[in-house]
Symmetry: C2
């Protein structure tokens, strides 16, 4: 098997014979092989143990055949090193026991040194690069400043962000200081990942879709843009995924990077119209499409591929993370459809 | 106090001196006066007891001063009459104990006669109209076919809609039959509300923002459009609120009606560009703005009002339901800002 760099070429808008694909949360609970390991180990333990993180990162490469690996980790992994007391409570998702609510809380927060607090991630990346030799490229990742701040402030998942937005509006100085600390941490963290061997990085702004465009432009975008601009200097493709933010995709692009991730709420035809062609586009099938019949799944794949067209610069992905009850066989079928039809469309057949 | 029909005139794109405002979920838990009643009565009991429903519907009119009342009820209120075993479990939201999963389940579902199964709603509307005489107009409402179907299929709130979409994709005939039954029920139900005295109606498609545009156009829009077209024949304004669907606002408009509801994810400047001027627009401040300082709240209000401009046809509203921890005093402040600044802007001062 020869090295498959289709993903990296698509990120750089270079021609490829077919459209490469990976899936957000591809190293995850839909795989029985993942669940077998997860049963024996805590989630954070898996993140912090390079041997385990490497093993589950490799699973979708070996079992599904995706065109890129993404390291197994969590966007909140730097929190303990910043002074935030993070726990993954069973069935509840992440909980921060000392959430940030005041300017004094912001003051106490530390910018984390990635080697000191997440050395295990760099170790994971180094091992993964050896394991992936002659296979596919490796993606590193981090959370965007807004998404990190929203978790730090709310202390848990939410759909409301009342405390987060109240701080943003009532104390813009504390807000900017907070996002600056998360941005500084993220810049150092992603740079260290790239130094360790990550060949592309994705910045996840998972919850920014709950922010109004006016607030995004003023209070979020400058921080995301600084992260992406700084990390871009390292010379590997930067993917920016602002989940749920397709109504303000014009603003999202202003953050820069090489690849704009698009969720499934924006038709690919419109994404191509609205996103500057200097960006590659990543996306954007409904993750629930993996519960459709093969025929319908195939129609959805063809629809997206045809709407993207034959120009370079498409990385196929789900519009959000793969659901934990998805059938791995269906993910393989999706990959086959993407490869077959994109090869056909791109060859002009 | 003379009768205030500003809301109805704005719905019909007729000139008004100021922008009228009401709030989704304005008869709700943020009001201590509501909670005092809710403590003594079950949620469905309140919906089914006209005296109680009337009392809480009047609260925001009397306590906040909104320009329209909306009857207190729930979008799932017809479910028991259709054969769906609905319960509002404490702290869990609605649960349907016999969810629809197969074509046979769809067959068994009954189209509900609104007078037979929701006579208490018509009674509530008749009393409310008397109570509201010389005050403000009354809005009725119902769920859109997709949102009703998604609850009926999933059996509870979700963010995934795996079963719902699987049925839509795997058995389009059963899907169409199901949405036709919900559409028929909704057409009869809204018509009966108008006959009883509702002076405008809102169709809530609360969860359609999780549907990809291609699926919306093919499998959802025709049913919503039929509801709105049929109900429009009754001659009162129809408001269509497709929550979270601003990335496909071009398709949403094709469903017709008089007023397009817009959530806070779409900047009002873009909403005005993208929505045909034959529609009035309802929206769209971030509901969490009620947690902002007065100064920031005022800036957000002015931003939206100025972006809408001086043409007729704006109904101010939150971009989603008011949060239960909102301060009623802040809601009054919001109303004051909307009235004062829209009067200033519309007078050209």
């Amino acid at each position: 098997m020869s090295y498959n760099d289709t993903f990296l070429r698509a990120c750089r808008c270079e021609p490829t014979e077919y459209t490469p694909m990976w899936m957000m949360r591809q190293a995850g609970r839909y795989l029985p092989e993942y669940r077998a390991i997860r049963e024996k180990h805590g989630f954070l333990e898996m993140c912090r143990t390079p041997e385990l993180a490497v093993e589950v990162s490799m699973q979708p490469v070996d079992l599904i055949g995706v065109d890129a690996a993404i390291m197994f980790s969590d966007i909140l992994i730097s929190f303990p090193g910043m002074g935030l007391d993070l726990e993954f409570a069973k069935g509840e998702g992440p909980v921060i026991h000392n959430p940030i609510r005041t300017a004094a809380d912001v003051d106490k927060l530390r910018v984390a040194d990635p080697h000191e607090v997440t050395g295990f991630v760099m170790e994971t990346i180094k091992i993964l690069r050896r394991e992936l030799e002659n296979k596919v490229p490796l993606i590193g990742f981090a959370g965007a400043p807004f998404t990190l701040a929203s978790y730090a402030i709310e202390g848990h998942g939410t759909r409301d962000y009342e405390n987060c937005k109240a701080l943003m509006w009532s104390d813009p100085d504390a807000w900017d200081q907070l996002l600056t600390k998360f941005a500084d941490t993220t810049i150092a963290y992603l740079s260290a990942q790239i130094d360790a061997g990550a060949q592309a990085v994705q910045v996840f702004d998972s919850w920014v879709g709950y922010v109004a465009p006016r607030d995004y432009e003023k209070s979020v975008l400058p921080h995301t843009k600084r992260v992406i601009d700084e990390v871009s200097k390292k010379g590997v493709p930067v993917i920016h995924f602002a989940n749920g933010a397709t109504s303000m995709i014009d603003l999202v692009q202003q953050a820069g990077g090489d690849v704009v991730g698009v969720d499934w709420r924006l038709d690919m035809g419109k994404a191509v119209e609205q996103i500057d062609p200097r960006f590659a586009i990543q996306g954007n099938i409904d993750p629930v499409a993996l519960f459709a019949t093969d025929d319908e799944l195939e129609r959805m794949v063809v629809d997206i591929l045809e709407k993207f067209g034959t120009r370079p610069g498409h990385v196929f992905n789900l519009g959000h993370g793969i659901h934990k009850t998805s059938d791995p066989e269906k993910a393989r079928t999706l990959l086959r459809f993407v490869h077959e039809h994109s090869r056909r469309i791109r060859s002009g057949a």
